[in-house]
Subunit: 335 residues, 2 copies
């Protein structure tokens, strides 16, 4: 077995086995029956030369790939961990591999990844939009199958998998009201990102009084700063509904830094489950999403879409579930 710098091609294998390149291809792809003796010769040649088909050439010739781009907005968000697993499990089953692209809530990065996915002729795209209208338009103008997950695509009529954000936010807000909190604020994400807007709407909807809203990014530092702002404001709340997990952590850290008692002085409900919500003291009340199932469903929709590109786009809405824990359980005023 000679090691050479250049990778062996199918012609090298053909020469070594004494057959034509077409035969090698047929052996490797099992398209047509090939003489058993030749099969054996080809396979040994493949092993001898340590031959590995060049996927780039194959993809060009076939003008399709077996890759999905999964464009998520924050790889550091545990929300996406299970979601990606769900996608991956279905993809594997269907013969696709996934490549993960982390846009980091940055529209420019998102656009880069979208154009890359199109240039690379990806078989499909699953995207949690960071709100870039340009990226959305690029995708919609292209023939590539797309599924939106977690967040709807701006102005997009594509397959979509989301949770019932508005209803879940209403439930969370009502829960705080029922716990006896009176001045409930909301910390939410950027305008134009569907989850931020819908969860805000649910909160406003459930509230009888004037809403108190802090808009920030969906990151931890944003949550920290927003919480600090609310604490300093004249309309200081006695409870807060935070519309994603990272901002919840930020808010929590802000409260801890200032020694503010949760849930005594400040009630807290966060959106998205957090792996350690029950380990922290006080334990965190959260709105849990069926993350793994979201991923599975998105992948299934993508498989179907690839099979039937012109079918009518579907929207799947899954329920989210309130998990009441200590951070929203107001001690009785007797104490």
């Amino acid at each position: 077995m000679v090691e050479s710098l250049a990778m062996p091609t199918i012609y090298d294998v053909a020469r070594e086995a004494g057959v034509s390149a077409a035969t090698v291809s047929r052996v490797l792809n099992g398209q047509r029956t090939v003489d058993p003796d030749m099969v054996a010769r080809v396979l040994t040649a493949v092993r001898e030369l340590n031959y590995r088909p060049n996927a780039v050439a194959r993809n060009l010739r076939r003008s399709r790939t077996t890759l999905w781009a999964v464009i998520i907005s924050d790889i550091g968000n545990p929300f996406f961990t299970d979601t990606v697993r769900g996608i991956e499990d279905v993809a594997q089953q269907a013969g696709y591999s996934i490549v993960l692209c982390n846009s980091d809530e940055n529209p420019a990065k998102e656009e880069t990844y979208v154009t890359a996915a199109l240039s690379e002729q990806m078989a499909g795209v699953i995207i949690s939009s960071s709100g870039s209208a340009k990226a959305a338009k690029t995708l919609l103008d292209s023939p590539v199958p797309v599924v939106a997950i977690d967040r709807v695509l701006p102005r997009g009529t594509v397959d979509t998998v989301v949770v019932d954000n508005e209803a879940a936010a209403r439930t969370a807000t009502r829960h705080l009201l029922e716990s006896g909190y009176e001045r409930i604020a909301c910390i939410t994400g950027p305008e134009g990102v569907s989850t931020a807007d819908l969860r805000l709407r649910g909160y406003v909807d459930a509230l009888a009084v004037e809403p108190v809203v802090a808009r920030t990014d969906f990151r931890e530092q944003g949550g920290y700063d927003a919480m600090a702002g609310l604490l300093a404001s004249p309309s200081r709340p006695d409870a807060v509904f935070v519309t994603n997990n990272l901002m919840t952590v930020g808010a929590l850290r802000c409260l801890a830094d200032r020694g503010i008692d949760v849930p005594g002085e400040m009630g807290l409900v966060g959106f998205d489950e957090i792996p350690w919500a029950d380990l922290v003291r006080p334990s965190l009340t959260t709105v849990a999403q069926p993350t793994y199932e979201l991923g599975r469903m998105a992948a299934r929709l993508l498989v179907d879409r690839i099979a039937a590109p012109s079918a009518k786009p579907a929207t799947v809405v899954l329920p989210a579930e309130l998990r009441p824990r200590q951070s929203s359980t107001r001690p009785s005023p007797a104490s």
Copy 2:
């Protein structure tokens, strides 16, 4: 602007602009100076047709790509979040994009991703090996530039970026000893994974007495089960050094479920920083790694390796830092 099913090719653009395909290519790649008038015509044609170069064809022709495969062992581990960011920042700078592959600590999956990376002619691979000797051999036998990160590659002489695991484990164990714990156990990962073995060695090294070791996977459930096992064993420890973050969470949850007081009844030090280590009660003593820097360094090594494929492989060892918090602070026996 006519929408057609087939993507336009460079020849469509050439025809539209009234030039040759070569000229279009030159305009788009800025190789040589082209008549400004032609440049303008080409660019409008590109816009008209919504043309996007086919990266598959380009890669084939150039016989190289601008993609790096980053193969990590667990996407759910926050350790990798910052690491991937570090890699990404350097990659972007150097004109590469990264595709993330999650092996999930599964050697078979890892092998799949390795062969995929080679087939797809990736420009380089950064890998945190889950211990598959086969995957390692495949990589080493190939001409693709490889950098090992976090964990050394089995039997591999490649560029490597790690922390000083043994020293850090010694420090952590000594810290528990100095805090007054006497029967210190160690929960570590699979044999053959370098971090598991080296951290164990550091622990054994620092200990004067007979070590108590539980081997499991690097996952949360494994940590839970290992902790449960230690609690039930005759040689029940009064402190435990856990060699990664997920297992630490598992151990912590096990202790919480059984109502065992930390740090009173059981001291705890975990390897890897955890984003919420200071929010949990008791706060967690950890060995923090320079995660972002690990990623940056690995990416830099990869850039260098691509530039000089036959240079001597380097190993970079970065320091890890003990962050003492409550979980290892034994209350004075007076109480």
